[in-house]
Amino acid sequence: MIEFQNVSVVYPNGAQALREVSLHIEKGEFLFLVGPTGTGKSTLLKLVYRELTPSQGQVVVNGEDVTRLPASRVPYLRRRIGVVFQDFRLLPQKTVYENVAYALHVIGTPYREIRRRVALAIDVVGLGRKAASYPGQLSGGEQQRACIARAIVNNPPILLADEPTGNLDPEMSQDIAQLLNDIHIRGTTVVVASHDIAIVNALRKRVVTLARGRIARDEAGGGYSPDEPEAC
């Protein structure tokens, strides 16, 4: 479903974020991406939904080489991928409800369907009482949950979550981990970049460890302890 072939990313300023990474993710798989800060986890995810194109190598999503995707096809790729951004990226002028609904509006969902699905998604992340608030009026954790609701609202076949519990307390983190697992069980391919040892260990899924832009370990049903390949 997602395939990296010999992928390297060099940012315009010369920073090398990924070095010859090859990784295969099956349809319906659940994968944790771990590793110290600055090792290229977010960079890897950005390649999947074409926020970035690699300097070298191929990224194949759903049988399609996204590095060669014409710009006009990119929106359609993104509609099949739900993304929980590390920095949330909520529209500041829209309420939580409108932010979540926007993802459905752009794909032409009927209004009645939008109301139902948005209410459900907001409810699932426990933000029901904040639906009418603007992102600026929310705590970090609430914004994060709004972002999760937007990512899952149209039941995409692929869900990418970049630090989805980075701003949540342990209890809420467990709830979100459970939610991600539920979504996975429904058949969605889920990739989670995380520092959160607790949820990585709790779910016992495949864990890919990055170190300085390379894959250092790839373990099925693995755990994660912070003393593993520490880069510096």
Binding site: Y49, A71, V74, R78, Q93, Y102, V106, P110
Partner: protein, 295 residues
């Protein structure tokens, strides 16, 4: 595009305007002011041109014929002059017609009693030419015709007025072009600012799967609407101001004939201002959004 999608894009446009009310206000007022200048300049030019033309229309030459010229020769002369290139009008002023006017004008100044009802005036023609700059040349041609005694032409004054008219026209066109360019820059910058303030949103919309058209349309509609509303405000202000000025001047300086605020004037102004406003709004917003689209 489906109806539902159109509805969504329209709603997006209005929410966008409402939630960025301050930016909208800034955009509309800037557009109003620049279009007010443009409309004002056009009115000034229209009036100056009109005045110059009225003035030019008053220039004509007087062709005096030999006294006692037979009527048949007079008529053939009339035909000849009328047929000259550049002549737009040739009117006979017979000596019978001219005499009472002449007497009235000189009443009291000169003693005319010893003329004993004798009419010493010759027949004459009042000749108009299309192009004032050619008046001198036409006068020379007429002077050479047989039966013509003298030609009183005003070509020097006429030429001065003609060149003034030309200057007004040329300067006016240049001014309008310059002001449109200035308006384009000002409106462009203002609209770019409104888009710039929301550039992050554009990136986010794209990341959650909106097509470029979907992102762009509300911004472009918004820009066009700002342009239209700004133009409408400018038109209202201009209309009220000009009507007031026209009435004031008619009362206090009646010899200064301003163009009346007629339907045709209103139509010409509205089509230009609305066109320029909406066009600039559309174009600059489309270009601005395009800058911040990442794919």
């Amino acid at each position: 595009m489906s109806l539902r999608h159109a509805e969504f894009l329209l709603l997006e446009t209005f929410t966008g305007i409402r939630r960025n009310a301050f930016m909208s206000l800034a955009a509309v007022s800037t557009i109003t002011v620049s279009l007010l200048l443009l409309g004002g300049l056009r009115l000034t030019i229209a009036n100056l041109t009109q005045m110059a033309e009225t003035l030019a229309g008053r220039f004509e030459m007087r062709v005096f014929l030999h006294t006692h010229l037979p009527t048949a020769q007079r008529d053939s002369l009339w035909k000849e002059i009328s047929a000259l290139p550049g002549v737009t009008g040739c009117r006979l002023v017979s000596k019978e017609e001219a005499w009472p006017q002449f007497r009235r004008r000189l009443q009291g100044a000169v003693d005319l009693t010893d003329l004993e009802g004798e009419n010493p005036l010759p027949d004459s023609f009042v000749v108009r030419v299309a192009d004032l700059t050619r008046m001198g040349a036409v006068a020379d041609q007429i002077r050479r015709l047989r039966g013509v005694d003298d030609v009183l032409d005003t070509h020097e004054e006429a030429e001065r007025v003609a060149s003034l008219t030309r200057a007004v026209r040329a300067g006016g066109t240049l001014g309008v072009v310059l002001l449109v360019a200035v308006a384009a820059i000002i409106v462009g910058n203002t609209i770019r600012l409104t888009v710039y303030a929301r550039r992050k949103e554009i990136g986010i919309m794209q990341l959650v799967g909106a097509t470029n058209a979907c992102v762009q349309t509300p911004f472009v509609l918004e820009g066009t609407l700002h342009g239209l509303v700004g133009a409408l405000l400018a038109l209202l202000l201009l209309g009220a101001g000009y009507t007031y000025l026209h009435d004031q001047i008619r009362q206090s300086l009646p010899f200064l004939e301003l163009l009346p605020p007629s339907t045709s004037l209103v139509l010409s102004q509205s089509s230009i201002l609305l066109g320029v406003g909406a066009g600039l709004g559309l174009l600059t917003s489309a270009l601005s959004v395009h800058r911040y689209l990442r794919t």
